[in-house]
């Protein structure tokens, strides 16, 4: 077949070889064989999915580095509590033998008070603005000094509150008890009155949520008064009901060394792996109230030391031993989770490596291959231009760039 017009052929070949040259150059500079979906649709879309997985792995890794410090803070706080409790036992044991003078036992009582203060302070630890032992009520300190009496801000002699006074629909009133460690919550519905609240509190006492001796009523000043007649017990009350105003402790009614827990028992969990989530907080009531009343037992020891009654001191010291056991047990799951997180961190690093390898297999090209492609393409391009030059000397200039 005689070819009379070579120009289109040569043009085409030059175009093709320049295309190959451009592709090889791009491969070398990006390290990618596949730079856009059309280069290899199935590899590219698989890579898109793989990148999604990689993003998740990165997030899990960053979650671990967010929660680990918080959990380590919780662990040190508990460790400090354990140290305090151990010291309290030592002091209690000392105080239980009959050889102490009154001055001694008073001094011991004072030291135990210091230990109690520390335990409460640890319980109120906050990490980056979050109170870590409050359950999900993490915006205010969970352990609050208790008093025997709380009165409403509304209600005066002239304008007293009455049992028939209506409460605001949806308002919440809480009573936290230092002895039971529990919180009674009353949520008002339409038609509820102060009497409804008083009745509910009484029912909570019967149920054991609140200690016996906690009562509520309208006092001589016309205020709603909620209080306990047990001098060793204390409560903390709060409300957002407009009828009541706010609740505050009556002056002079603070119970020494008594603290109520105003947090809740809920915990958050955070995902740190494809199918791995860990709880990130230990609620304070679970830690200090549910197995043994830790704060209460320290309080008990202080009172016993102050009174000088050695058998009471002995009993109180035994109670603290039980409390110490309980707190130590609480630490175990926390420590396990911390180990788990560290292990998971390594696993995630490995996973990142695997994913990167997979992605490279899909769309990458080794530098060596890319370089080979490039030199090959350059060679061919040169050959084509050379051939074109021989065939079309006067038109070669069109192809020089």
């Amino acid at each position: 077949m005689r070819i009379t017009n070579m120009l289109p052929d040569v043009q085409y070949q030059i175009q093709q070889s320049q295309q190959a040259l451009a592709t090889a150059t791009q491969q070398l500079s990006t390290g990618l064989r596949v730079n856009q979906p059309s280069d290899d649709p199935s590899a590219y879309s698989n890579m898109v999915i793989s990148l999604g997985i990689s993003a998740n792995v990165d997030t899990y890794t960053s979650n671990i580095s967010s929660v680990l410090p918080q959990m380590q803070t919780a662990d040190s706080a508990i460790s400090s509590m354990v140290t305090s409790l151990n010291t309290a036992i030592t002091l209690g044991t000392q105080g239980a033998n009959g050889t102490n003078s009154t001055a001694n036992t008073q001094a011991l009582a004072s030291q135990v008070e210091g230990l109690l203060t520390n335990v409460v302070a640890q319980g109120n630890t906050s990490f980056q603005g979050v109170f870590i032992f409050g359950g999900t009520e993490s915006t205010t300190p969970p352990f609050v000094p208790a008093s025997t009496t709380y009165n409403s801000s509304n209600g005066t002699v002239a304008l007293p509150l009455a049992s028939t006074s209506g409460l605001t629909n949806g308002s919440v009133t809480t009573v936290s008890d230092a002895t039971t460690g529990d919180t009674f919550t009353f949520k008002a519905t339409a038609g509820d009155t102060v009497a409804s609240l008083i009745t509910a509190i009484s029912n909570a006492v019967s149920a054991g949520t609140l200690s016996s001796g906690v009562t509520a009523g309208i006092n001589a000043n016309g205020q709603l008064s909620i209080g306990t007649n047990n001098p060793a017990d204390g409560i903390v009350v709060s409300t957002n009901d407009a009828t009541l105003g706010s609740m505050s402790a009556a002056p002079g009614t603070a119970v020494p060394n008594a603290y109520a827990y105003v947090g809740n028992g809920n915990s958050n969990s955070v995902q740190v792996g494809e199918s791995m989530s860990v709880p990130t907080n230990l609620p304070g009531n679970q830690l200090l109230f549910s197995g043994a009343n830790v704060i209460g037992s320290l309080n008990q020891l202080i009172t016993a030391l102050q009174s000088g009654n050695t058998s009471q001191v002995g009993t109180a010291t035994t109670a603290i031993s039980a409390a110490l056991n309980y707190v130590s047990q609480q630490r175990v799951p926390l420590d396990n989770t911390i180990s788990q997180l560290n292990a998971q961190d390594s696993t995630l690093s490995q996973e990142t490596l695997n994913l990167t390898t997979q992605q490279t297999a899909l769309v990458g090209i080794s530098t060596a291959d890319a370089a080979t492609n490039l030199s090959q393409a350059t060679l061919e391009n040169g050959a084509v231009l050379g051939a074109a030059a021989k065939a079309l000397p006067e038109t070669l200039l069109q192809y020089l760039q």
């Binding site: 590899a43 695997n354 390898t357 997979q358 297999a361």
Partner: protein
Amino acid sequence: MSGDALQTRDVIAAIYLQQLQELASEISVATDAIAANALPRLQESVAKQEMLCAGLIKLANSVGDGLGSSVQPSCSGIDPAVETKIQAASRTIRELNLQYAALLRHSGKTIALLASLCRSHTGQFQEAGGPRLKYQTWSCEM
């Protein structure tokens, strides 16, 4: 899996790779043959392609046996370097195959076209005499 089984797999995978590369080259030959209207070259190439495909399917089955689908790339059981090359060769063939298919489509249309031309052709053919008479007969309808 045993070391022996692994090794056999590697050997088979290497043969697979070689045949993939041959297939890629054969498709290029066929594409050129179509473009040049070189029928005998095309027929020869297609026959080779058919043979290579059959062989590849058989090989793939014997490598894939018992591997199932694994999520970890490291558990493939084949030398990763060979595996990468196999994937690369596979992709090259896929691209060539696309162009091959396109050319076949267009060339196929030409045949139909020619057939219809012949149908309306009222020119004249020479009839051969002797032993070559009716050695190959045909007609076409649209």
